[in-house]
């Protein structure tokens, strides 16, 4: 069994500029935010973010001018903190090219990629301007119901990164609570990375293998990052640190620098 443990910095370096990245989690919950910060620290450029409901992650990348494209269904900081201001600015300035989705259309695209087919049907969508905007095609039911169905193209991110509660050195990753879309994401992506709160043994995972969302053979590398979802929550380990999110939302480079310096991984890890 391979030892796939790398440092967070090594993981961030192995994701080239220009990559399309699917991040796990939803809004302020269960997302690999430490890795997102590390991409900022390494000065990443030209990334594409693929996520149904990004927030802090895409906002931080937009603030650092690291993201130039996105596929998203809804973008907000959430938790009563409103829109993602840097993301909004980047879209309004034309710095970030948005492909606007309807959450499930991203997941349908990921399902297509996961199943090795070029497109996937998705219910609904009719009546929405997204249909024409995205040049989505429709297919008449070839079995004669006469029903037209929207099909979306396969979406295969270059990289998927999820944050797990526990992982072993082989990359087997256990997730508690709702994974949002992490299962679909990890099946659709070309390369799969895991950040995890804790390193555990394979034998520990084998105690309840049903809880392993992601088998290690699909995983390229693992970084052990305690509080890696900060300032978001990780069920059941910790809640959202709203004070930190609010501090992040203060405008200006100094506030950003303070925020990055205050992150758990900046205080704990020696930089590889």
């Amino acid at each position: 069994m391979a030892n796939k443990i790398v440092s967070l910095a090594e993981m961030a370096r192995s994701i080239p500029d220009g990559s399309s990245i699917g991040f796990g989690g939803s809004f302020l919950h269960r997302a690999p935010f430490a890795l997102v910060r590390e991409l900022v620290r390494r000065g990443a450029r030209g990334l594409e973010v693929i996520k149904s409901s990004p927030g802090y992650d895409i906002d931080l990348l937009a603030r650092a001018h690291a993201v130039s494209r996105a596929k998203a269904g809804i973008v907000a900081i959430e938790g009563g903190l409103g829109l993602a201001p840097s993301y909004r600015r980047a879209v309004e300035d034309g710095e970030l090219q948005l492909e606007e989705h309807s959450c499930m259309t991203i997941v349908a695209g990921m399902r297509a990629a996961a199943a090795g087919v070029p497109f996937a049907p998705v219910a609904g969508v009719f009546g929405s301007d997204l249909l024409a905007l995205n040049h989505w095609k429709t297919v008449a039911d070839p079995y004669g119901s006469g029903k037209e169905t929207v099909v979306v193209p396969a979406i295969s991110p270059d990289v998927a990164v999820i944050h797990a509660n526990e992982a072993d050195a082989n990359g087997d990753a256990r997730v508690y609570g709702s994974p949002p879309w992490d299962r679909e994401l990890t099946r659709a992506a070309k390369r799969v990375f895991v950040t995890a709160e804790r390193l555990v043994s394979s034998a520990q995972l084998a105690q309840q293998p049903e809880l392993t969302l992601l088998p290690g053979f699909m995983v390229e590398a693992v970084a052990i990052v305690p509080r890696g979802a900060w300032p978001g929550s990780l069920h059941p380990d910790y809640d959202v640190d709203y004070a930190a999110v609010e501090a992040y939302l203060e405008p200006g480079d100094a506030a950003l620098a303070r925020h990055l310096a205050a992150a758990p991984e900046a205080r704990v890890f020696s930089r590889a």
């Binding site: 149904s52 973008v75 309004e92 499930m104």
Partner: protein, 248 residues
């Protein structure tokens, strides 16, 4: 400035949209419907199923979380029903009532949550509709809410149609609009807050509507009042009002 009664009117009238034995759902950025589902559980005698985007089934937290995606909505759940699962449930038509927010709503219950101004060169980039474009045409009934009731939010013509479908109800701080989701019909005014009247609603609404059936909204019951008070969540609800769409 939002008033406490605005938030309370929204929550109570969203709760009243829930029918016995329905499967209901509230998504991301949806503190008001989350509060409405908790209120309905406490104030009404019938049973219903409450699914949240956080993945819990029938979780009615004592203390409402700030985020409607919060793991607090998993406390005590017997099952994790994750995103792909409830989306599929919706698209196969078994999610009976879906709550959705919007920046702008038109007379057919269509929504714009995408952009103000030209989509490609927006004056304001809005959050996006989440799953609305997929869910609105397939759910038997959709209940919309809009915390600002003005001619720029309730409009005759949307700047972009993010989603269209089976809208049955629209709740604002001042009024409840309704339409038959099975028909391609416009909203009518169903009821209005007791400190306003149909003419005032007409004046602050950008789309025209029929008001002949309108009545004053039924006063809050003692159980609804008690459930609201027990929630003690006005800070959350107030937070939600001005910030969710970025329009103000």
């Amino acid at each position: 400035m939002p008033e406490r009664r605005d938030a309370e009117y929204l929550v109570v009238n969203l709760a009243r949209a829930i029918r016995p034995n329905e499967v209901t759902f509230s998504g991301v950025n949806s503190v008001l419907p989350m509060a409405a589902c908790v209120l309905a559980r406490r104030a009404y005698d019938f049973d219903f199923t409450y699914l949240s985007v956080a993945g819990g089934v029938d979780v009615f937290p004592k203390k409402l979380p700030r985020s409607s995606t919060d793991p607090a909505l998993l406390a005590g759940t017997a099952a994790i029903f994750s995103n792909a699962d409830f989306y599929d449930l919706a698209t196969r038509g078994k999610l009976d009532l879906i709550f959705l927010g919007a920046a702008q709503v038109d007379a057919f219950g269509r929504t714009n949550v995408s952009a103000i101004g030209d989509w490609a060169h927006p004056k304001v980039r809005l959050p996006g509709g989440g799953g609305a474009a997929v869910m609105m045409p397939v759910a038997p009934r959709v209940a919309l809410w809009r915390s600002e009731h003005t001619t720029r939010t309730l409009v005759e013509k949307l700047e972009f149609i993010t989603a269209a479908g089976k809208t049955a109800v629209l709740v604002t701080p001042y009024a409840v609009f309704a339409r038959d989701p099975a028909k391609n019909e416009r909203f009518h005014l169903a009821s209005y807050r007791d400190d306003t009247d149909p003419a005032a609603i007409v004046a602050r609404t950008g789309f025209s509507f029929e008001a002949a059936r309108a009545v004053p909204t039924a006063p809050m019951t003692a159980r609804e009042r008690a459930a609201l008070d027990a929630m003690d969540a006005f800070d959350l609800l107030e937070n939600e009002l001005p910030r969710v769409t970025g329009l103000r």
